[in-house]
């Protein structure tokens, strides 16, 4: 797939998303004309783009869709659930067509094509209603009847029509019409070009340095009128320029024909030949014009100014519509101009480089410190501060708001609730919470599973809800917020909660736990994430599609995250996903055990203190009246050598639980780039990754969450019975 095609599909998908959002809002009662306009614009953009890259399947289909939207916009048909569903299906079809385009087939296969025809036919049913007389804004100086008749009669052409007659001096002034016309290509596609040499005089009278040419151009473009006019800015005084927007009224074309110097019939032929008008449209237009001419014979050749004034006088409603549209387009353009599309791998490369810079900076810093040269030390300090800033900004580049991911679920919830016949509302909070793009990309699937699960298994059937005295509409919530260096995403529902007994029974049956094992409520609930815990007996076509909760957990763990469920029977469940903000760089706290160095993510460090002498071999200590379980890294990693006389405790907090990590030495803050562990180390508990110190030595990054879990487990188990190996 070439680059243009790739850009087209990406942009078309964005437009599709926008359309979908708009349609959903309309279904929920949003009657703001701007919403509909935005949907229409998106459809139009997709159609235009498809035309430019010549994906005719998309272009044709979107055209049908657009016609329906146009009727909606004109108030000829009303918004209904049925219509929105159909339009959404149309969006899906466009999405499917884009899929095939991405696979390299510009034309859809038989099945998809058939589906498209079916949807298109259904859509056409909405456009087949009786025509409603348009022409609301009747021109004052024209017989009302005439204008009224012309009101709804617009040309089907979707191109801008540009008529330009260059002045004689253009060439002599060093300007070449060729250049201006070619520049139009930057705005869109020239669907048809007619060169008019009618003004060329007899050979002897012709001045070879004068320009006698005129052009009729059909331009397929999303540019607004101002942008097209700008192309001709340099010759504005020296040319006669007329621009008709796409789908102009036939009367406008007729008016244009009248204004142009060439003969009416010749121009008519040109317009028909270039596809601006159909022969039928032309005939109707001319007949109308004749009727007008008899009433108001006016043969004086108007100036350009008069033409423009005349045009706006003749069709105020169209001029106004065009102006609004142009304004919207340029507003959007302005918003787009603040964004730059960058290839993701370029960004990744930058982050990689910044990562190396951080390591190199740390190394320089270390050397400077050792050299004891104050100036050098100062310089490297400033340098490392700058490196830190660069790192932050570089990472910020990758940060995206989670809202976009969340918003996709409006559609999911809508469709699923219709499908399973439950009334469900989706509430989104914290949509502006930012997280790393690579995380966002990977969190979509687990979230989808959790949301579907909440709708399917969580929310009870309507009858049951009424029985329990709950509102009929079930609530599914998506919530995101930042919490001590991680992002937390919650999927909540106000459904029945997890059936504890059933889970317990199933877990025993599957051999996940032993019968009679004593488990807390939280532990029972979290059993659903265990591999092999299938919900096979409640398979519906929603969840239970072969992806179990254990896969959700695996996906999230792969992102160095955790997932937990908190559930109360009868009241609902809350799935909490906790993810690191970024996968690449962390602020670390460097500690030492014997000769080895370890890194603890700084955001998890609460405080450091000396291990009280009386702690002995126990695995908990008294922290200001609080029991703090701790683990000795020395023991955990089986480091040789005896304990030093003084040990230190780093108090860490993860997922709401505190624990101590006992180490020999504290080395202080250290910025570090995470190097993922090779696959063979994947099962190593307690290690999240590795990094390279300024000295070139390798330091292991501790998986605090696992360590806290371990410490807490010890707390419950017999004190001192810490397994030597994990």
């Amino acid at each position: 797939m070439d680059e243009v095609m790739a850009v087209f599909t990406v942009e078309a998908r964005e437009q599709l998303t926008a359309m979908e959002e708009g349609l959903l809002r309309m279904e929920q009662g949003d009657r703001d004309p701007e919403t509909l306009n935005a949907v229409f614009r998106s459809a139009h953009t997709i159609k235009g783009g498809a035309g430019v890259v010549e994906i005719h399947a998309v272009e044709k289909f979107t055209h049908v869709l657009e016609n329906v939207l146009d009727r909606l916009r004109n108030g000829e048909i009303a918004v209904s659930d049925q219509l929105v569903t159909l339009l959404l299906r149309g969006c899906d079809h466009i999405g499917a067509l884009l899929d095939t385009v991405e696979e390299g087939n510009p034309e859809p296969g038989g099945e998809l094509a058939a589906a498209g025809v079916a949807i298109a036919d259904a859509l056409r049913a909405w456009t087949a209603g009786p025509p409603v007389a348009g022409g609301a804004g009747v021109a004052p100086q024209h017989p009302a009847g005439e204008v009224h008749r012309a009101g709804g009669d617009t040309a089907i052409s979707d191109c801008w029509h540009i008529s330009v007659r260059f002045g004689q001096n253009v060439l002599r002034n060093g300007m070449d019409p060729l250049a201006f016309l070619r520049y139009l290509l930057s705005l869109g596609e020239i669907a048809h070009m007619t060169t008019l040499a009618d003004a060329l005089p007899e050979a002897d009278a012709m001045d070879p340095e004068a320009c006698y040419l005129g052009f009729e151009v059909e331009l397929r473009s999303h540019a607004d009128k101002a942008a097209i006019e700008q192309v001709f800015d340099f010759v504005r005084d020296d040319c006669d320029l007329h621009i008709l927007p796409p789908n102009s009224r036939i009367a406008d074309y007729v008016a244009l024909i009248e204004k142009l110097p060439e003969e009416t019939m010749r121009l008519g032929e040109i317009l028909v030949g270039s596809g601006a008008l159909t022969a039928d449209e032309l005939a109707r237009g001319l007949a109308l014009q004749q009727g007008q001419a008899e009433e108001a014979p006016d043969a004086a050749a108007p100036t350009i100014g008069e033409i423009l004034v005349g045009q706006s006088a003749v069709q105020p409603e169209i001029v106004e519509a065009a102006a609004t549209k142009q304004k919207q387009v340029s507003d959007r353009k302005a918003a787009e101009a603040r964004l730059i599309r960058v290839q993701a791998d370029k960004l990744d490369h930058l982050i990689d480089l910044v990562g190396e810079l951080v390591i190199a900076g740390a190394s320089a810093n270390l050397l400077a410190q050792k050299s004891r040269q104050a100036h050098l030390f100062e310089a490297t300090s400033i340098l490392s501060r700058l490196v830190e800033d660069i790192r932050d900004s570089a990472l910020q580049l990758r940060m995206v708001q989670i809202g976009e991911t969340f918003n996709r679920f409006h559609r999911v919830v809508r469709d699923v609730s219709k499908e399973i016949g439950k009334e469900i509302e989706l509430t989104i909070r914290g949509a502006e919470t930012e997280l790393d793009k690579s995380v966002v990309e990977k969190i979509g699937d687990p979230l989808m599973h959790l949301v579907r699960n909440a709708m399917d298994h969580g929310i009870e059937p309507t009858a049951r809800r009424l029985e329990r005295g709950k509102p009929v509409a079930g609530q599914v919530g998506l919530n995101a917020f930042h919490d001590s260096g991680s992002i937390v995403i919650e999927v909540t529902d106000d459904g029945g909660g997890l059936p504890k007994e059933k889970i317990l029974a199933k877990a025993v049956a599957r051999g996940i736990i032993a019968a009679g094992q004593n488990l807390s409520d939280a532990e029972i609930a979290n059993l659903i994430f265990e591999p092999g815990f299938s919900t096979a007996d409640q398979v519906t076509n929603l969840s239970g599609r072969g992806v179990g909760m254990d896969v959700v957990k695996k996906n999230i763990t792969a992102l160095r995250g955790t997932v937990e469920v908190h559930s109360e029977e009868g009241l609902g469940s809350r799935f909490t996903i906790r993810l690191p903000l970024t996968l690449a760089i962390i602020d670390g706290f460097l500690v030492g055990v014997a000769k080895a160095s370890y890194v603890i993510p700084l955001e998890m460090v609460v405080e450091c203190l000396e291990l009280p002498f009386d702690a002995g071999d126990s695995h908990y200590l008294n922290l200001r009246g609080e029991v703090l379980p701790f683990v000795r890294l020395r023991e955990l990693f089986e480091v040789d050598g005896g304990r030093p006389p003084r040990e230190n405790v780093v108090v860490v907090k993860a997922a709401g639980r505190k624990a101590g990590i006992v180490v020999d030495a504290l080395h202080g803050e250290f910025q570090t780039v995470i190097k993922p562990m090779a696959a063979i180390f994947r099962h190593l508990r307690g290690i999240a990754g590795s990094t390279i110190l300024g000295t070139g030595e390798v330091a292991l990054i501790l998986d605090i969450l696992a360590l806290v879990g371990l410490a807490s487990a010890n707390e419950v188990a017999v004190p001192g019975a810490l397994p030597a190996r994990t």
């Binding site: 060439l171 002599r172 070449d176 019409p177 060729l178 016309l181 070619r182 048809h192 070009m193 007619t194 060169t195 040499a197 060329l200 050979a203 012709m206 070879p208 340095e209 320009c211 006698y212 040419l213 052009f215």
Partner: protein, 102 residues
């Protein structure tokens, strides 16, 4: 058809050459009752002025009832004529020649 005059233009066809070009084209055309074959294969540049002269020559040839055909196009010439969508205007031989030139 020995009398058909073959004229090769071996200079740019732009506004800078427009004045002499016009003389050349018209003189050749008027001095060749059987018509003119233009060889434009060595035209390095063409602008609207040059293009316009071709149109003029074509018009004049029609007025005189003589043939004017372009038997060879350079890329630049073809580019302009195609952009202006005027291949058909210059007639069939041109289109055929253009196809061959591709």
């Amino acid at each position: 058809m020995g009398k058909v005059r073959r004229v090769a233009i071996d200079r740019n066809m732009t506004i800078y050459e427009a004045e002499p070009l016009k003389e050349i084209l018209l003189n050749e055309l008027r001095g060749a009752p059987e018509g003119v074959e233009l060889d434009l294969s060595r035209v390095g540049e063409m602008d609207t002025a040059g293009f316009q002269l071709l149109v003029l020559a074509k018009n004049e040839s029609r007025r005189l009832g003589r043939d004017l055909s372009i038997v060879a196009h350079s890329a630049a010439v073809l580019d302009v004529i195609e952009f202006y969508n005027m291949l058909a205007f210059f007639g069939d031989p041109v289109v055929i020649a253009a196809e061959a030139a591709r």
